[in-house]
């Protein structure tokens, strides 16, 4: 078992009256899924002394190369069982059509296998993919024994232990900045969504912004604003924000930035964290991939969100950059922003 500090379901010291919140990791699609099963032919091993020979011979004929997580043999649970072990013979698909029972001589037609010690084949369901989380492992193992290489970081994150209390305090204060930006934007008739970019290497806030889609440009959602504000801080930027004091950036001191590239200059949002009061849409989630953001923290889920709600754009293997995502930071207060009346 993992050495886990005594921090189960820890809650941050909250100011009185504030609702508690938890940092919840948003895992990839594969990590969030339930277990997918596939049919295999298995057979009881009637004579335990034959087991290792049978495993060797069956594995040579039907290797489980694509399914290295599957254990070939399982022990029968019940003591009164007529046989102590069962073993996987082969997948029940393709030429061995699903559903149809086969005899040993049908499954091993050319006599490469000495079937002594093997009982009558039966069909069973086994997990298709290796388990990635403890939950998946437990579900998978209830069908057939599998190996599990636990990612301790994921386990820690899922148990709420990834962030120390002082880190949680920092998450909270950065999200508070994003909430304040959303409120300032709303006072100017903007949608009440806020964003903040922080360099975690230095703790410095590099950009604070709010949604400007109803002001400067219809595509300037809060995340797009902050990406552009970071660019402004690096001497670039595509838009000007002088009419929106809720949008501001820190001018980067070139060469002093610790998270910068090898030549000493910061490169887009590499290494930075973004805080968003609500889950970003497809455009913004992909903009954060292009911007090489390191981590995203958001408060409220959104029906058009492209991280936990749909697509998991932060964790797709077919894209060239991935970022970590955590949700739930000051979730209630972020949800409440939606009810801010927008003056027109």
């Amino acid at each position: 078992m993992l050495m886990e500090p005594d921090c189960k379901r820890q809650k941050t010291e909250e100011p009185r009256g504030a609702s508690p919140w938890q940092v919840v990791p948003v895992l990839s699609e594969r990590e969030s899924q339930g277990v997918t099963l596939m049919p295999v032919y298995a057979a009881p091993v009637l004579d335990k002394k034959e087991a290792s020979r049978l495993v060797k011979e069956v594995s040579a004929i039907y290797p489980l190369g694509d399914y290295p997580h599957l254990k070939r043999v399982r022990a029968r649970g019940s003591v009164d069982s007529s046989h102590p072990l069962e073993m996987i013979l082969c997948r029940a698909s393709g030429r061995h059509q699903q559903g149809a029972l086969r005899t040993l001589s049908e499954l091993f037609p050319s006599g490469q296998l000495d079937p002594s010690g093997l009982g009558t084949p039966f069909l069973t369901q086994v997990p298709v993919y290796p388990p990635l989380t403890r939950r998946q492992y437990e579900e998978a193992a209830s069908h057939w024994p599998v190996s599990f290489h636990e990612n301790k970081r994921i386990t820690q994150a899922l148990s709420g232990c990834l962030f120390t209390p002082s880190e949680k305090t920092a998450l909270q204060s950065h999200m508070e900045l994003a909430i304040q930006a959303a409120q300032r934007g709303a006072r100017q008739g903007m949608k009440p969504v806020g964003a903040v970019v922080v360099d975690p290497a230095t703790g410095r806030v590099l950009a604070v912004g709010h949604d400007c889609r109803d002001g400067i440009n219809p595509l300037l959602h809060a995340a797009m604003v902050c990406i552009d504000l970071v660019a402004c801080g690096q001497g670039g930027g595509a838009y000007r924000y002088q009419d929106y004091p809720g949008c501001s950036f820190l001018l980067s001191a070139n060469g002093l930035d610790q998270s910068s590239g090898a030549d000493g200059l910061p490169y887009i949002c590499t290494g930075y964290d973004m805080y968003l009061t609500r889950e970003p849409c497809v455009m913004c989630a992909m903009a954060l991939v292009h911007s090489r953001i390191e981590r995203v923290f958001y408060g409220a889920p959104s029906p058009h969100g492209a991280l936990a709600t749909k697509y998991h754009i932060h964790s797709r293997k077919d894209l060239n950059h991935r970022y970590e995502v955590y949700r739930g930071i000051l979730e209630d207060r972020c949800c409440d922003l939606a009810h801010l009346s927008v003056p027109k």
Partner: protein
Amino acid sequence: MEAAAAAGERVVFAEETEAWMDRAIDMAKEALGNGEVPVGCLMVYNNEIIGKGKNEVNETKNATRHAEMVAIDEVIDWCHQHKKDPEEVFRHTVLYVTVEPCIMCAAALRMMKIPLVVYGCQNERFGGCGSVLNISSATLTDTGEPFQCIPGYRSEEAVEMLKTFYRQENPNAPKSKVRKKECVI
């Protein structure tokens, strides 16, 4: 090319499509000649170019400044100058672009409610019109409307230009961040 498609209320004919795509390819060639990402992109409304775009990621240090995003901004400016309602104009605008729009741009085009996108080659790394995700035709909450795509016109040339460009590497990326096959389309 037989394709003809309804864009809003008007019909786009194949010869017209080809003529605009030839223009987009010329723009991409010009960009390549200037050491820029070779993507050409035109917004056409009532047989008139009202927006053009080239990739401005390096000059703005903003990784979202793809050609399509720049062209959308030009159309908005054009609408302001001509006192037109952008929503109405975008509804009758066709985008011609040498490379399949990425996931981000596809979502942006949906939100602007552009009805039709004609493009050259697939964007295997980031494509949002079917190559990686199908944002152009997906059913999405509060993310504009789906749009129609006509792919494939002069696609070999479009691909060839991109390959040529990325063989040179992006001189603006810091050394540690440059990867050989990286594409910022």
